[in-house]
Structures are given as C-alpha cells and as structure tokens.
C-alpha cells in the first residue's frame, strides 16, 4: 500500500525516534513491563506503523464487505442494513419455565431464541435415567419427547422467530422435534430458520457432551446436511464452534485454528458422502468467543473470515461466494467472568460486546454478571441484553463498516493470527485432519497447556484479573441467585410415565425398529428419526437405539 521510498524514509525516522526520544524516556522511566505479551504468546510492539503492513494489498487482503475474502464483513451493508441478532442463550428447569423466559426475552426486544438444554438431554438420556439423577433441568431445559418441545414453543410462532439450539450428539432428534412442532403450528419446514450446533468434534475436544464414536457421529452430521439442503433450506445445519475451545483455555490463535480445522473435517466428510460443496457449504455457520483483549479479538474475527474464505475457494474449489463466507455467532467469554465483585463483569461484557461488533458478528449472546456463581437471574439477563442495545444504538460503532480496518496494529495482528492459525492447520493436516488429531489427543493437549500457562500467570500476578488477584475487597455472599427447584427431576419423571401410558406403544416400537435397521445400513437417518419423534418416542429411546448400533465414544484421558 505504500511506496518503497517512503517506507525507507519512515524506517529511518522511526529508528531515530527510538534512539533519541524513546531511549531518553526509558532511561528515566522504564515501561511497565519488559515485554508485553498477548494471550496468544506473541509480543505486542510499542508502536505499529505502515512498516508493519507494508505488504498489505487492499484488494487482495481486505476487499469490500460482502466480497471475497470477506475480511471486512460478509454483508455489503453490514449493520447499516440490519443490526446483529441479539440472541440470549436461555433455558432451565421445565419446558413451561423456559417458555416463560423466552416470551419475556422477546418482549424485551430480543430478536432470536437460543435454547439451552440440560445435560441429560444433551447426552441423549431421558430424565428418568440413573445418570440423569441430580442433573435434570440444571444447565438448561429438560426435553424428553415431542411433548416437552410442544410446551417449550407454545405461543411462539416458529415462522417468525429464528431459533438456535445448542445440541450436538442428538442434534438430529431435536431438529426433528422442532420440525414436528412447526408442522403442528401449520408452519412447513422450508419456512424455518435457525441453527443447531451439531458440532461433535469440539465435544471430543472441549465440551464433553459426546455420545457416539467419531465415524457414526460424522454420518449423522452429513445426514443432516443432506436432509436440510432439501427440506429445511434456511436452516444453519451446523455451528462450528471455537467458543468452547477458548473456554477450555485455548489462545485466540488456537481458537481460530482448531475451529477451522474442524470445519475442514466436516466439509471433507460431506464431500466424501457425495454432496456437492456448494449445496451444503452456504449453510455452515460458526460460533466464536469474545474475550477482553479487544483488538486481538477484532483481529481474530477478521483473520478467521479471510482464512476460511481462502480454504473454501482454494482447497475445496467452492464456486458460490456464500460457501466462502464465514458467518458467525459470538458469545462473550464465560471464563473471563469473576465470582468476586460480580458487577465488574458488566464492564467486561461491554468490552467483549464491542469486540464482537467491531469484528462483524452476525449474532451475539452477552453473558450475565452472575454466571460465575449460578444461572443468571432475570435482572442480570436484562442488563446483559441492554449492554448490546447500548452498543447498537448509542456507541456509533455500528454506523460504519469494519471501522478498525487500516489500523496498523489491527491489520498487522489480523495477518499474524491468520498466519499462525494456518501453521496449526498445516500441522493438523499432516496428522490426517482434525479427527485424527483429536484421537491422538494433540488438540486437547495444546489447549490444556495454554490453560495451565494462563493459570500460572494469574497466580504469579503476571496477569491481573481485577477483583480476583488485585483490587480485592471483603465481600458478603451474593444474594438472590437463581435456584432450580430440585423437584424438576421428579416432575419430568412423572411426565414421562404419563406419556408412555398414553402414546401408541406399538407404533413407537415399529418406528424404533425401522430406525435401527436404517442405522445398520446406509440410509439417511433423518426421516426415520422424524417418524419416531412424531410417535412420541423419547429422546432416550431414540438415542438408545443408536447407542446399541453405533456404540459409545471412549474419551482419551489426557493430563
């Protein structure tokens, strides 16, 4: 972008400035630290100048919003056309309770739903399973059958809202339930919009709610890609997630690298299953974290977009520009919240919100201040939503597209993150791709090393966490936290019992047998699951059949 002569002159001037001005200041007063290191481990320089982005080619590296390589954003007008979707992840206890919370959030101006399921649901157990004891309704809503799903969306028109569901191993079952509920509302599946997370690889890496081994899991995922391309064309069939990888302790660079490596594995699996890349790739979506290092985060989002566009174009020969667009949801960083002085978390979340918006996110969940202590109360959730609204309507950052582009630092950082992430991906390619790297424990080990390093830095006081290892105060226990009624487990058990008494159990058995046969063969399993769901077969019954056919994943324990 700059001519050689001017750069040479600039270099000389900068050196002079360092040797005179800076040297003079440093003799009197050293800088706060000898080295300023980012969380990803590279050194942050004192000053960035055109020298740091001398090779930057505007058309090649940045281009225009909505144009390859999408560094500046995926839509031509970005937030000037439409603000990001404000989507708070919510759900707890029973379908009835969660339905109330969703209606409240919609009344407060939220523009999309995001369903949190409890752990038994996420792992494919009914509420009466022995392993579900103590967990029912705790981290999300308990869904055992279509009956619960009907209650969950009661009075919410599914052709009007978009719904994101954080569900992975049993994603096909919950998607089938959603389609069935919509049908009962008179909404055909081609009108449905939303997302299922459906990203099993990061479950093995970081999140832990896997059920089946890698291969059958990848089959279920490609089955969903194929089914949705035909019948649910507006649905985001996967949300390839770096969020949990970051929460598990990765750096920003690792978050990009491992997420895109997972993405590559899904694309490869779908192509191998006979799908055309441009048939399914436009429906792939991503999910990233937003942490406190504002500028590193903005650079991370921009780097991820550019790198994914190149991968889709160069590696997979995608032709449709939509296949190359990295569209993503963001959630602010849960692991950055402190249990100490929880109101400080509001400020952290505000910074992270800025990072996500300046990075061009398509939708955003802001965490609540009390989430290091318990599930958030209604008051806390409202403040979190208001934080997004203040950034959207008052800060001005949504009025022009990608406003940090051209910053010497941000552009240099964008290059750096892309380069380092690409190096990781090359390494994973050498191992045979993400599934193999996961089996070997490589990705998990890299993340754990970063997590441990971070913890040590905090404990040595090299990283300051305000209110936690510095600026502490004496605090009394916080009051008014949300408590999930322990009776929820019993309630769900009773509902299950009643359901099993009133449904047509012969038809349930038939549908489950048909599913079993299909699972043993090569058919797309979606239609079989949909049939079983409509007969009110439970989630546990459906996953139980698949467990018998597919077996279960055995975690490799790495310390």
């Amino acid at each position: 972008m700059y001519n050689k002569e001017k750069l040479e002159a600039l270099k000389a001037e900068r050196q002079k400035w360092e040797e005179t001005e800076i040297a003079k200041v440093l003799t009197k007063k050293p800088e706060r630290k000898e080295k300023f290191l980012s969380t990803s481990g590279y050194e942050v320089k004192r000053l960035y100048t055109p020298e740091d982005i001398e090779d930057l080619d505007y058309s090649r590296d940045l281009s225009f919003p909505g144009e390859y390589p999408f560094t500046r954003g995926v839509q031509p007008t970005m937030y000037r056309g439409k603000l990001w979707t404000m989507r708070q992840y919510a759900g707890f206890a029973t379908a009835e309770e969660s339905n109330k919370r969703y209606k409240y959030l919609l009344e407060q101006g939220q523009t999309g739903l995001s369903v949190a399921f409890d752990l038994p649901t996420q792992i494919g157990y009914d509420s009466d399973h022995p392993l579900a004891e103590g967990e029912v309704g705790k981290v999300g809503v308990a869904i055992d059958s279509l009956k619960d799903m009907e209650i969950l969306f009661d009075g919410i028109p599914l052709d009007k809202v978009s719904t994101s569901m954080t569900i992975n191993a049993p994603a096909a079952v919950l998607l089938a339930m959603y389609i069935a509920v919509a049908e009962k509302q008179g909404v055909s599946s081609d009108k449905l919009s939303g997302t299922i997370q459906n990203d099993i690889l990061k479950e093995y890496i970081a999140r832990g709610t896997y059920i089946f081994p890698i291969e059958p899991s990848m089959r279920l995922i490609t089955n969903i890609f194929e089914y949705c391309a035909k019948y649910v064309p507006k649905w985001n069939t996967i949300s390839i997630s770096g969020y949990h990888i970051r929460e598990a302790g990765s750096t920003a660079v690792q978050e990009v690298a491992f997420t895109l490596a997972d993405g590559i594995a899904y694309v490869e699996a779908a192509i191998k299953a006979g799908l055309d890349v441009d048939e399914f790739a436009p429906r792939l979506s991503f999910f990233f974290n937003a942490h406190n290092d504002l500028l590193e985060e903005v650079a991370k989002f921009r780097a991820a977009r550019r790198l994914w566009a190149k991968i889709m174009k160069e590696r997979f020969n995608a032709k449709d520009p939509r296949s190359m667009m990295l569209r993503f949801h963001t959630q602010t960083g849960g692991s950055t919240l402190t249990a100490q002085q929880p109101d400080n978390n509001i400020v952290r979340v505000a910074i992270q919100t800025l990072a996500a918006v300046l990075g061009g996110t398509q939708s955003l969940h802001t965490n609540s201040r009390d989430e290091a202590l318990a599930l958030p109360t209604e008051d806390s959730v409202r403040i979190a939503l208001r934080t997004q609204q203040i950034v959207a309507y008052e800060s001005g950052v949504a009025d022009t597209i990608d406003p940090l582009a051209g910053s010497y630092y941000v552009e240099s950082l964008t290059n750096e993150i892309e380069k380092r992430a690409a190096e990781y991906i090359a390494k994973i390619d050498e191992m045979g791709g993400a599934p193999k790297a996961i089996e070997r424990g490589y990705i998990q080990q890299e993340i754990q090393d970063s997590a441990y390093k971070y913890q040590q830095e905090v404990e040595r006081g090299e990283r300051i966490v305000v209110g936690m290892n510095k600026f502490q105060i004496k605090e009394s226990a916080p009051k008014g936290l949300l408590k999930v009624d322990p009776a929820v487990g019993e309630l769900q058990k009773q509902k299950l019992k009643a359901l099993k008494a009133e449904r047509d159990n012969i038809k349930v058995q038939e549908s489950l047998e048909a599913l079993r046969k299909a699972a043993e063969g090569d058919d797309n399993l979606m239609p079989y699951i949909l049939t079983a769901v409509k007969q009110y077969a439970t989630l546990g019954e459906i996953c139980g059949v698949l467990r018998e056919v597919f077996g279960e994943y055995q975690q490799s324990v790495i310390l």
């Binding site: 157990y125 392993l131 692991s335 754990q448 324990v557 310390l559």
Partner: protein
C-alpha cells in the same frame, strides 16, 4: 511414611467442563503429588471404587453443572460404606455460597469456588489429609 500424597481428581455426573479439574490436577502434580484423573462422566460409585482401589488420600471433585448437592454427598456416603471414611473429600466449581454449609455437613471438607489459586487447594490438602 514418605510416599507422596495420592489424589483422585474426579468429574462426577454429566458435566463436561474439565478445564478447572485438569488445571488443578496438573498443579497438584507439579507440587509433588501423585494424581489420578478419572476423566468425564463418572458415577459416584465409580469414583468411590477408584478411590479405594487406588488407595488415595484425597478425592477432589469438580462440578460446574449445579448437580453438586446430589453428587458430592453421594460420593462421601459411598466412601464411608466402602471403608474409605478416612479419605479427605474436597470439591470445587460453580457452587453458590449458600450451598456450602450443607455440603460441609455432608462431609465435604472444603469447597473451592472460582478464583481460588491452586496453591490454596494444595495447601489445604497437605494440612488436612488424615494419615501420620
């Protein structure tokens, strides 16, 4: 008796958040302890069984899913039944302050909430294991 302190780090229940458990386990190991990590999704029975078989001095459990009030006391109870009543049991995770007295009454020696330095947990174990 000079053998190193043996600790079983365990993840009871269905919770998949194991960053904390692994970081603590590694810090214990760096502090000279012998650490066995169970991996995810352990039932209270499996944890108690492993603790007895591995002859540990301490069981350190982590839960972030809210199921602690059920799962922690269950492990203590099973340890007692299996003759492991001398084993020190501690817990950590996202645990509301108001739940802590009940858990202590149920036999969990200490609860470490978010922000606790690993050194505090390690000191606690050194000072409280019940052997010579």
């Amino acid at each position: 008796m000079n053998r190193p302190i043996r600790v079983l780090v365990a993840k009871p229940g269905l919770d998949g958040h194991d960053r904390g458990a692994k970081v603590v386990a590694r810090a214990m190991r760096d502090a000279g302890m012998e650490v066995i990590y169970t991996g995810l999704r352990q039932t209270p029975e499996q944890i108690a069984e492993a603790a007895i078989q591995e002859d540990v001095d301490c069981v350190a459990m982590s839960i972030l899913s809210g199921a602690h009030n059920y799962l922690f006391p269950k492990v203590v109870q099973l340890l007692k039944e299996k003759g492991g009543e001398d084993i020190l049991v501690i817990g950590g995770g996202v645990i509301p302050e108001e739940d802590i007295p009940g858990l202590k009454e149920a036999g969990i020696a200490e609860i470490f909430t978010p922000g606790t330095p690993t050194s505090v947990t390690i000191e606690f174990i050194k000072n409280n294991i019940k052997r010579n």
